[in-house]
């Protein structure tokens, strides 16, 4: 459960690192890039976005573009970038560790 929640934060932070995105865009990207294996419902996604915002890792802003209704865009903060980098390192170490164990067994 911790692994899954931590990875959800990692996913969101990495998706908004490149550019600000709104909630629906984030959920669609996660679904598309995971090939449908990871899906976030509204009731899970937004609480998570608000939590990251409260921690200061994301910053949300209402943006109104002409001809459209306003949407809330999220971008990663400096602190968020540091957390993302640290989580990515941890994730890569974890994956490398798993790979070393399973390759040894199957070697």
């Amino acid at each position: 459960m911790e692994w899954k929640r931590g990875s959800a934060e990692l996913l969101i932070l990495s998706l908004v690192e490149a550019r600000p995105r709104h909630g629906y865009e984030i959920s669609k990207l996660i679904e598309q890039r995971s090939g449908g294996t990871i899906r976030f419902h509204v009731a899970s996604l937004y609480p998570m976005l608000y939590r990251l915002e409260r921690r200061g890792w994301l910053e949300g802003r209402w943006v109104e573009k002409s001809g459209q209704r306003r949407r809330r865009y999220y971008r990663v903060t400096r602190q968020g970038r540091r957390v993302l980098a640290s989580q990515l390192r941890g994730w890569r170490q974890f994956v490398a560790g798993i790979n070393r164990i399973t390759e040894a067994e199957n070697a």
Partner: protein, 931 residues
């Protein structure tokens, strides 16, 4: 399109979020569901199926609230608007304060400007209030001051003379009266008297280790210190035993004097010094907080009451061979007392009234019963009012000035708040629409403004703590450097500052809060407000505030202008005598035992010695140094053979030396001046001025006539008029038109005391100072020179008060102008920003940039002109209140009014110019897209 929000809001209900937060979440989630719904429709699902699939994203009725609860718990939560549960009130206030702090932190620039503006206004008010507190409100620093009483009497027209203070409502009594009052022991636990040893703060000569120094001394009776409840820091106070004839002469010194002269040496107790040549022993030192019984003055030392030729109350003898102890109508003492426990002032008043009435009837000989003065036992907690009399009016005037400054500061900040409220109208409108009550919203907005003014008040207190000592130093210099005040911050000052800050916060916050809370949701949700402003639209509150600021600035600036002109008029005024190269110093040889003929001889010999010194052009004597504020004023004047009723207003009367008028440059128009031959052995003569002549001998020649200084012409004590001189103002820089008379000092040996030498140097006065000192030293080394200074310095000091007023009012006027212009600039700049869309339309339709410039300038100038008009009307009503403080200029002086209006208009034009130029440069294409 499906309605998503009701579904979402229903699921958020259990969280009891603030309407704003709930609305925000609902909007965001609704947008997500709508996107999902549209995506599903594109894939071919029916509307109903797509709706159900989208709603399933919410995962049931409780899931969303369950997931959000831990996240939303720590965010700002506003109590639900419609709730009226009073137990939430305190929690609500605390939340309002936290929210207000956040809002202030979000716009640091705005907060800084507002807080600083308020700090200036509140700080100035606190500084002046500190003065009022110290001078008028604070009690004496003694035990239970509320039980102290002050003896005084009041009369309408009679008696016409005697009192040393010369006031109608008087505080002076004779020693005999004091003794009779002291006998009333059934109502008083103590009665005590005090009196200065002279009329200035250098009224005694104290010999310390053989060196003569000057000090400010007072005489007190035995119960002074015990009655006041003052515990000496060292040693003891004066007691009844010290008044016994033959008792060792005891002296108590003040903490300040102990510091200044003895470097706080604890072995000062028991030290021998001399006072006017008489040996004394120092027996005590008063605590640092004790300044005597009159705020603003502080004696250096206190000695027991006595009457010796060189040591008596006011350094003046009653006349003839009478003693102060026995002369029943020589009113020289001030008396206070402490009420017995349980006795009220009214009860004690009755006991003393009878005593006083009897005394006056028997000894003052009132012409009729209705002339008898009325006795008053007044409250004594603030001691004897001395400085209050001449500082009250200027201080209250300054209070009005800083009040106006605060009004301008409030109006300025209110303008800023109005602009800011406008930019928050969407937020406020949503909250109102969702259910927040208007009163709740107003409370929150007021919390922000009160918090801002509390910060301003705190900073203002810091400003005042720095500013008040500087102000006291200025006032003290204006009072010949003798005012000693402790205007520190006590609980009363703190409370005043707190109260002002709270009232100010509500005052400037209320209008913007009321206005902001009326926001209409529909118009607020549109970004572009009215495309073109309707000229018939009623006048915005921001503009009214500008008019108020400009009007208040006009009042302050005109006041400043009048005081500046007053100062200039005084500086250039011809006081009737030649002040160039004139140096003055005083001597009081009575303190060294000189009296009568011996005193006259000393003065005569010294004068002769000084007149032949190198560098001296001429020298003479005068009883009171010009502009020292003192002169004898005897009334009435009775002219021999005149049917005129004796004038009760009398004349100003001075003893002077030979060649006085030639030395001082006062022209003699008839007869002669005072000469060496006018001695005690020759008939009494007087020289009068033209004002006296106009009053008592209109159209005639007074030379050869006689007059006396009494209510009925007394030939035995009359004077022959031997000359008439031009009027000269020798007493006060603010001259009134009073008759003046001069007599020869040598003709009054018995009452002669301190005199001042007026020496005209050939060149700069500083060149003869050391020779003057030597001349005095050679005559008698024990005589210190009193107040040695050039006449120009004396005049300059006399003008210190006018200089102070001119300086302070100018500072306030300039501050007011600065604040008002910042307000004007801010209002116009904001108006230009709001109207950018409108300006774009106008220019797109053909308006030239110069038209736009004109539009903005017109708005600014119109506001300024209206403000100036109101300001001028207000000033016309107000300036007559300061007419007694200005000189040589009318309170309605057209030049000052026109100059201020012109300066304000020019500065306003500059303040309008920058926003006007910005408006001119608006690109119509950008402006039309501007939202």
């Amino acid at each position: 399109m499906p309605e998503w929000k009701p579904e979402i809001v229903r699921r958020l209900g259990p969280l009891k979020l603030s309407p704003a937060r709930e609305g925000e979440i609902a909007e965001e989630v609704a947008q997500h569901l709508e996107d999902r719904y549209q995506e599903l429709l594109v894939t071919g699902q029916s509307e109903g199926a797509a709706f159900r699939t989208a709603i399933d994203e919410l995962q049931g009725e409780d899931f969303l609230a369950h997931k959000l609860r831990p996240v939303e718990r720590d965010l700002y939560r506003e109590p639900v608007a419609l709730e009226r549960d009073s137990s939430n009130f305190l929690a609500g206030i605390l939340q309002d304060v936290r929210y207000a702090l956040r809002m202030l932190r979000k716009s640091p620039g705005f907060t800084a400007v507002a807080v600083l503006t308020l700090a200036l206004g509140i700080g100035a008010n606190t500084a002046i209030f500190s003065l009022i507190n110290a001078i008028i409100l604070r009690s004496l620093p003694v035990r239970d001051p509320q039980h102290l009483v002050l003896f005084q009497w009041e009369s309408g027209k009679w008696p016409p003379h005697f009192s040393m203070t010369g006031w109608q409502s008087d505080f002076s009594f004779s020693y005999e009266e004091f003794k009779e009052f002291s006998a009333q022991q059934n109502v008083m636990s103590s009665v005590f008297a005090f009196v200065p040893l002279g009329s200035n703060d250098q009224n005694t000569t104290v010999g310390i280790n053989g060196e003569p120094t000057l000090a400010d001394g007072a005489m007190v009776t035995g119960q002074y210190f015990s009655g006041l409840g003052v515990t000496p820091l060292l040693g003891r106070g004066i007691t009844d035993a010290d008044e016994n004839p033959g008792a060792p002469r005891a002296m108590v010194i003040s903490y300040v004097y102990w510091t200044r002269r003895f470097a706080r040496d604890p072995s000062v107790i028991g030290k021998s010094v001399t006072l006017n040549g008489i040996p004394f022993t120092i027996v005590g030192v008063t605590p640092g907080s004790f300044y005597g019984i009159s705020v603003g003055t502080e004696p250096d030392l206190w000695i027991p009451f006595d009457d010796k030729p060189n040591m008596r109350p006011w350094s003046m003898a009653p006349g003839g061979t009478d003693s102060v102890f026995t002369e029943r109508d020589w009113l020289c003492l001030n008396i206070m007392g402490r009420l017995k426990d349980g006795v009220t002032r009214e009860q004690a008043q009755g006991a003393f009234e009878a005593v006083f009435h009897q005394f006056v009837t028997a000894d003052w000989h009132p012409p009729k019963e209705s002339d008898i003065p009325h006795f008053i036992l007044g409250p004594g907690s603030q001691g004897l009012p001395v400085v209050q009399d001449y500082t009250a009016q200027p201080i209250y005037m300054l209070m009005v000035a800083v009040g106006l400054l605060l009004l301008i500061a409030c109006a300025n900040v209110a303008t800023l708040l109005l602009a800011r409220a406008n930019s928050r109208r969407k937020e406020i409108s949503v909250r109102l629409a969702i259910g927040a009550s208007r009163s709740r919203l107003i409370r929150q907005l007021l919390t922000e403004s009160v918090l801002m003014s509390a910060l301003g008040g705190f900073l203002g207190l810091v400003f005042a703590n720095r500013g008040t000592p500087a102000l006291i130093a200025l006032i003290s210099r204006a009072n010949n450097g003798t005012m000693i005040l402790d205007a520190g911050t006590d609980s009363r000052v703190l409370f005043f500052t707190f109260l002002v800050a709270m009232l100010v916060g509500i005052l400037f916050g209320l209008a913007p809060a009321l206005r902001a809370s009326k926001a209409n949701l529909l118009s607020a949700m549109k970004d572009n407000v009215s495309a073109v402003s309707d000229p018939r639209k009623k006048h915005r509150p921001g503009e009214s505030l500008i008019v108020v600021q400009v009007a208040a600035s006009v009042v302050l600036m005109i006041g400043a202008g009048l005081f500046v002109r007053t100062l200039a008029n005084f500086k250039s005024h011809n006081f009737g005598f030649d002040q160039r190269n004139l140096i003055t110093f005083g001597l009081n040889p009575t303190r060294a035992g000189y009296h009568d003929a011996r005193l006259v001889n000393l003065y005569t010999q010294l004068l002769d010695r000084i007149q032949v010194l190198p560098g001296v052009h001429a020298a003479t004597l005068i009883q009171n140094a010009p502009f020292s504020g003192w002169s004898r004023k005897n009334s009435p004047v009775s002219v021999e053979g005149s049917a005129q009723t004796p004038s009760k207003s009398g004349m100003y009367w001075q003893g002077v030396g030979p060649d006085f008028f030639s030395t001082m440059g006062i022209p003699i128009v008839l007869g002669r001046g005072i000469q060496r031959t006018d001695t005690a052995a020759s008939p009494k003569v007087a020289v009068v001025d033209e004002t006296f002549t106009k009053k008592y001998f209109p159209g005639g020649n007074p030379v050869g006539h006689r007059f006396s200084l009494s209510s009925k012409y007394d030939p035995a004590n009359s004077y022959e008029i031997v000359g008439v001189v031009r009027p000269a103002e020798l007493t006060d820089v603010n001259p009134g038109v009073h008759p003046k008379g001069y007599a020869s000092y040598a003709q009054f040996p018995k009452t002669l005391g301190q005199m001042f030498f007026e020496v005209r140097a050939e060149g700069p006065p500083a060149t003869i100072v050391s020779e003057l000192r030597n001349a005095v030293h050679q005559a008698d080394a024990s005589l210190p020179l009193i107040a040695l200074k050039t006449q120009a310095e004396e005049t300059g000091e006399a003008l210190s008060f006018q200089r102070l007023l001119a300086r302070l009012t100018t500072i306030f006027g300039l501050l007011a102008l600065l604040l008002a212009m910042i307000g004007l600039y801010g209002t116009l700049a904001y108006a230009v920003t709001r109207k950018t869309h409108e300006i774009g339309i106008r220019m797109a339709l053909g308006a030239k940039p110069t038209n736009v410039l004109g539009m903005v300038l017109r708005q600014g100038i119109t506001l300024t002109v209206i403000g100036v008009a109101f300001g001028v009307v207000a000033t016309l009503g107000a300036t007559r209140l300061i007419s007694s403080m200005i000189f040589g200029v009318s309170p309605y002086d057209p030049l000052t009014f026109v100059a201020v209006a012109a300066i304000l208009s020019i500065v306003a034009l500059l303040a309008c110019y920058i926003p006007a130029r910005r408006a001119m440069k608006v690109d119509p294409m950008v402006a039309l897209r501007y939202e």
